[in-house]
Symmetry: C2
Subunit: 340 residues, 2 copies
């Protein structure tokens, strides 16, 4: 029998049913259980914030992906940040702050070797480790620089431009000397793009006239498109590429179901005529560069040159509809669950 | 008044009407006219062979492309090879063999500076300068190596695998140590793929069961796809990518009309999941590498390590339906017009 930690209760969110497309509250259940004691090499983490990310839709659908789907009855897979409360791994000590795929649970028992990183920016808010100083910021920085490779003066187009990744992309592109156009849904988010995240232009894709708005904002086309959405925004962007353009496929949030596989405008001829490139980017392939990216981002945070927004939900029950909220576009900033 | 060459007649094929999609005989007219005398810097070339290439469809359609469309009443734009009969450019002498965009005309008066190259492989057939030692071979070699960058042992998929470009791609990939699967239309072309061009496997896309045939030929997916077609072959290939795959968009022969812009399966999620890249390749962007590519290809030709097929039409009248023949797949080898 596994030994348990006395006096601790592990509240967790499990996947209760297999969704097709975006999961809703009916696909998750909250349950309580004991907290196991770490064995050799293991670390017990008390989580403080759980992350809610667009990729989590893909993790619960039973379609081909870069990792197997979460099993029914298992704790929902997610990134989280928290404090080490017990460690039998020589690399981690009690009290240290760590991030990793800890799941939606108050206490995560993990192999020390699977922990993503120790959070060393203890002067900055802990929740940043899941956003701008976590995979969102790293995705923005490495996707933009490694795949997009924008040059100063070039036009960078961003979809979900006010989101956790998009808002970082837009600001990083400006810091690298680019011009930026952000596409977001609704007047509130486009105002955020312009007034908070410093885009040169912002387009509300829900307002209609997307083609004309894009033509006005990028009269010479875009050089780099950081695509978080696929769908109508990308279909409009297809016809505004500049020669030699780079199209970073980071997410497909606007297409909620890939079974059956959906149709859209063929991209081939546009890529050929413009000698352009479309490339899928998965941040997990770029672990070699995380530390450098985070150090650069943390420097910009400390200098006040980059800003962020958070949208915080409280407690495990609120997590059940969190992915739905994200896909309905109801969050205003990086969506997080604060652990009770 | 322009001075003319006495005793010479210039038979030429002009674009008589604007086609939508693939041009037919009704879009071209044959006419005779005088042959002008070269002015300073100009060269007069007597053409021997005219090229017929898939890209020529795009050159006559009034849709956005990498060069403006051929004007109505103008000589049809094409590559050709021939002999210098008079020169007022210091770089070219009478009797030299040259290639360039000379058009479908018996005599081409061109600025010396616009000539693509002097054919130095005088030990090899002149027509090769339009095929394996011309843009077809260079396209195959540079598209495959610069965009595809296949590694030895990797799987290279080729569409229009028995065509002028495709047959070169398949053979070059084998010479570079890759495994190859060719897709072509009909039993005659797939037999050519296997027996003449050395593909490890050949698939007849007209025979049905394309998905299953592709799965059997590439059980671990393809690493590089040299895509000359778009359309159904590419739609099947979309779901057989290996992680990190490179998809070279070289042509879109299977989609005959881009007005209105056609739909097809969205590629975004497949590129993301496989961290794959799709990139348009236009050989004209790579002039810096032509000479090296041709030297390498000519070496393989002399060593008997690479083979080719030609399909030769005779005379200007035959040119009028030549692009149609190409798109109907009726040619068995590089399609050329021999000039009468």
């Amino acid at each position: 029998m596994t030994e348990t930690m006395p006096g601790l209760e592990n509240r967790r969110v499990i996947l209760a049913a297999r969704p097709k497309g975006v999961p809703g509250p009916e696909h998750f259940a909250v349950e309580d259980g004991p907290v196991p004691v770490p064995g050799p090499g293991q670390v017990l983490v008390r989580t403080a914030f759980w992350s809610v990310d667009p990729a989590m839709r893909g993790w619960v659908n039973d379609v081909p992906n870069y990792i197997p789907p979460v099993e029914i009855g298992a704790v929902m897979r997610s990134f989280a940040v928290g404090r080490v409360v017990a460690s039998r791994h020589p690399g981690f000590a009690e009290g240290e702050i760590v991030t990793g795929l800890f799941g939606w649970q108050r206490y995560a028992l993990v192999e020390g070797a699977t922990i993503d990183r120790k959070v060393v920016e203890t002067d900055l808010p802990q929740s940043l480790a899941l956003g701008l100083l976590g995979l969102n910021g790293v995705t923005a920085y490495l996707g933009l620089t490694r795949v997009g490779a924008p040059e100063p003066g070039q036009m960078v187009l961003v979809s979900t431009a006010a989101g956790a990744v998009g808002s970082a992309v837009g600001q990083i592109a400006k810091l690298l000397g680019c011009r930026t156009v952000g596409v977001a849904g609704g007047p509130e988010k486009t105002a955020l793009c312009r007034d908070v995240f410093g885009y040169d232009a912002a387009i509300d894709y829900k307002a209609g006239g997307l083609d004309a708005a894009l033509a006005a904002a990028c009269p010479d086309g875009w050089n780099v498109y950081f695509d978080n959405t696929c769908g109508p925004v990308s279909d409009a962007a297809l016809h505004r590429m500049a020669t030699g353009a780079r199209w970073i496929i980071c997410g497909t949030a606007a297409v909620t179901d890939w079974d059956p596989w959906p149709d859209g405008p063929r991209v081939h001829r546009a890529l050929l005529v413009k000698r352009a490139r479309m490339e899928g980017f998965l941040v997990l392939d770029h672990k070699d560069a995380y530390a450098d990216a985070i150090a650069r981002l943390a420097g910009w945070v400390r200098d006040g040159r980059i800003v962020w927004r958070e949208h915080i939900l409280d407690g495990a029950e609120a997590a059940r509809d969190a992915i739905g909220m994200l896909y309905r576009g109801e969050n205003t900033g990086k969506l997080l669950v604060r652990v009770d």
